[in-house]
């Protein structure tokens, strides 16, 4: 057993962070929220150059046929930098069920996909619109879109009408991998929030001392560390389950989403509280993650839905 990220995966993560650190992602997110897609699409092409949407595409279709652990490594980084767009749908769900020419174009970062969950993220820029139901996969033809606003302005959601045609594919697995990627995204967002709050607590002075010297602040942040550190192995463990095609995949991704969601939300609330009023402003980047975390708690199955899946699996197992 080696339950640790490999040196290659660490390197992959570092190259993603390098790209995203240099890309002014906060500006990209704000543009995306206003419907100006070009900076975001350019960023996605950059991520495609590093292989992100090719990870789950087969080698035959021009992909990397990489491990689900690589997906988790990538989505922690994407979540950390709040990368906007239908990234879970395009890089994880669609490659699980689509093959051939379209899979190749997904891998190359040329086209985007969306999935009805039941609202569809960024359906206006998606080439491919999918629905997952009862383990089946459907493609929505000529989707008619009606915009719906989200708590996270960078999540541009649409109600979708259109004829659904069943296509081959394992819809249950596609859903579970989507959940896994969202859990990793939450973990990354939570880590950014912790890092930002820690940096602020070190620098901000009140009563003549850095506020991070007070136990009231220390203990809040220590709880965030603990939640994130214990959520991460669940996310990584679920990635291993996905890689092994384990029978416990649904249970494991659900556990990961519950814990990563709890940890990220605690990180978001704590980071806002530590920052105080400055964190409540639109100019501060904290709000980008706060809104995204809150939105992702409800997307791809609520915590209640996922806890029920875990409990059902446990009750049935013994």
């Amino acid at each position: 057993m080696k339950f640790a990220v490999s040196p290659e995966q660490r390197q992959f993560s570092e190259s993603l962070h390098d790209l995203l650190n240099g890309a002014d992602t906060a500006d990209v997110v704000r543009s995306w929220a206003e419907g100006r897609h070009e900076p975001g699409l350019k960023l996605w092409r950059g991520l495609a150059d590093l292989g992100v949407p090719a990870l789950l595409v087969s080698e035959a279709d021009g992909g990397l046929e990489a491990s689900c652990v690589d997906i988790v490594v990538a989505f922690e980084a994407l979540g950390y930098h709040a990368v906007p767009g239908p990234i879970v749908e395009t890089a994880v769900v669609a490659p699980t069920v689509v093959s051939g020419e379209r899979a190749g174009r997904l891998a190359g970062g040329e086209i985007l996909a969306t999935v009805l969950t039941p609202l569809a993220l960024d359906a206006d820029v998606a080439y491919l619109c999918l629905a997952l139901r009862d383990g089946q996969v459907y493609e929505v033809q000529d989707p008619k879109l009606k915009p719906v606003s989200s708590i996270d302005p960078a999540r541009r959601l649409f109600r979708v009408d259109g004829h659904q045609v069943e296509i081959p594919g394992d819809g249950a697995k596609a859903f579970d991998l989507g959940v896994l990627a969202v859990a990793a995204q939450l973990l990354g967002a939570g880590q950014w929030l912790l890092d930002a709050a820690t940096a602020y607590a070190t620098q901000r002075q009140q009563y003549g001392k850095p506020i991070g010297q007070y136990q009231a602040i220390k203990h809040l942040l220590a709880d965030v560390v603990t939640h994130l550190e214990l959520a991460r192995p669940l996310v990584h463990g679920a990635a291993v389950a996905a890689q092994d095609d384990s029978a416990s995949l649904s249970r494991d991704v659900s556990a990961a989403k519950v814990k990563a969601g709890d940890a990220a939300y605690l990180a978001a609330r704590t980071a806002l509280q530590v920052h105080g009023a400055i964190g409540y402003t639109a100019e501060h980047d904290l709000g980008l993650r706060l809104a995204k975390v809150r939105a992702l708690l409800g997307a791809w199955g609520t915590a209640t839905f996922h806890r029920e899946r875990v409990l059902e699996s446990l009750v049935g197992a013994r």
Binding site: S67, Y214, Q215, H219, L221, D223, G237, V258, L311
Partner: protein
């Protein structure tokens, strides 16, 4: 990254499972005279199978098992409902200290009878004026021919009511303050000058005791490390207690599975069902976190301040898990002895081995690098 159990480890796990299934006894509480003796006997039974200290050298009744195998052993041990370990202070706290700082002579003399339960150890850290602030301790040791004379008072000493020996820190250089001038001693609790006063815990049994020392002679051979270096020596023990060995994931997984069984039998409101799920998720998270720690250590990493993350997590998980069981039991929650015992025991978790508040300070200062508060 993988979670594969190699063939040798799987065979070991299966051997442990089969042996426990055929041999696990039901014993009275270890905090009674009768139960203590029975638990001591159980340690000898385990040792005869080389199952009391699986990671230790064969010369000390171990079988040189890997850390992963130890985690698997613990999983099987608690899943089988096997007795609590009366030897845990010794095998999980003192032994790692001896392996790191003891002499060959000390290891050869102390470890074999520890492994068989022939000598059961109590810990003697806290004092009336030194709880979380352990460096404030006042008990002292004065030089004499061939050793030291120890005087003072220790308290909340787990197992001391019935144990044979104890380990702890004493001030050997009165001119030094705080962490300096302390020395790590092993003490014979039957020696002249030792008085034990058992203290009943919440469950009514004397799980800990006060130890009064009046010029108790301890030979030089029972000092671990150099005189004056006691703090540094003791810190090895602290990380072990918090970090890996004291409360392995096996015990929480076993408790979570018992909670799932209870849910299956009785059902209950969906809100409690969610807490049952959370308890299992927490235990599974801790198991996977531990596999990560094992991989890190086997790769040459150290058990550093991350051990505080560990301890903070499981201490809270244990309380939440047992609260959920009692809530699920409803009016039967106050009368179900097994869950009540588990619940009362869980309440001590956020206190011993460094309180949750101390762990949070450590995490904030040593992992996040936040500035230290001004302390004395």
């Amino acid at each position: 990254m993988d979670l594969d159990i190699d063939a040798e480890s799987a065979a070991f796990r299966d051997e442990v499972r089969d042996w426990l299934a055929a041999n696990v006894p039901s014993l009275p509480s270890m905090d009674t005279a009768e139960g203590f003796a029975a638990h001591r006997e159980w340690e000898a039974t385990l040792a005869a199978q080389r199952l009391s200290v699986v990671t230790w050298p064969r010369a000390y009744h171990g079988r040189e098992a890997s850390l992963l195998q130890w985690v698997l052993f613990e999983q099987e041990y608690y899943a089988a409902g096997a007795p609590g370990r009366v030897s845990q202070n010794g095998i999980f706290m003192l032994a790692p200290t001896l392996f790191a700082h003891g002499t060959q002579e000390q290891r050869d003399r102390i470890l074999p009878p520890m492994a068989t339960g022939e000598q059961v150890w109590a810990q003697a850290w806290s004092e009336p004026e030194a709880g979380s602030d352990i460096a404030a301790l006042r008990s002292r040791a004065v030089r004499t021919d061939g050793g030291w004379l120890l005087s003072g008072q220790k308290t909340w000493s787990s197992r001391a009511a019935f144990a044979d020996r104890a380990f702890g820190l004493f001030r050997t250089d009165p001119s030094q303050q705080r962490h300096r001038g302390l020395t790590y001693f092993m003490i014979d609790l039957r020696a002249d000058g030792v008085t034990i006063r058992p203290i009943p815990q919440l469950d009514g049994e004397p799980g800990f005791a006060e130890i009064f020392l009046d010029e108790v002679f301890v030979p030089d051979a029972d000092v671990i490390g150099e005189p004056g270096q006691g703090w540094r020596v003791a810190m090895t023990t602290a990380n072990n207690e918090r970090g890996l060995s004291l409360r392995s994931p096996g015990r929480f997984l076993a408790a979570a599975h018992r909670l799932v069984d209870l849910w299956r039998e009785r059902g209950g409101p969906a809100s409690v069902g969610e807490r049952v799920a959370d308890a299992w998720i927490g235990a599974r998270a801790y198991q996977l976190y531990t596999f990560g720690t094992v991989s890190r250590i086997e790769d040459g990493g150290e058990l550093g301040p991350e051990s505080s993350v560990n301890k903070l997590f499981w201490s809270q998980l244990d309380v939440a898990l047992h609260e959920t069981a009692l809530d699920l039991l409803g009016p039967d929650g106050e009368t179900d002895e097994s869950w009540v015992d588990g619940y009362l025991f869980s309440l001590a978790g956020p206190i011993y081995g460094g309180t949750d508040q101390i762990q949070r300070n450590t995490i904030a200062e040593r992992l996040l690098g936040l500035p230290r508060e001004a302390r004395r």
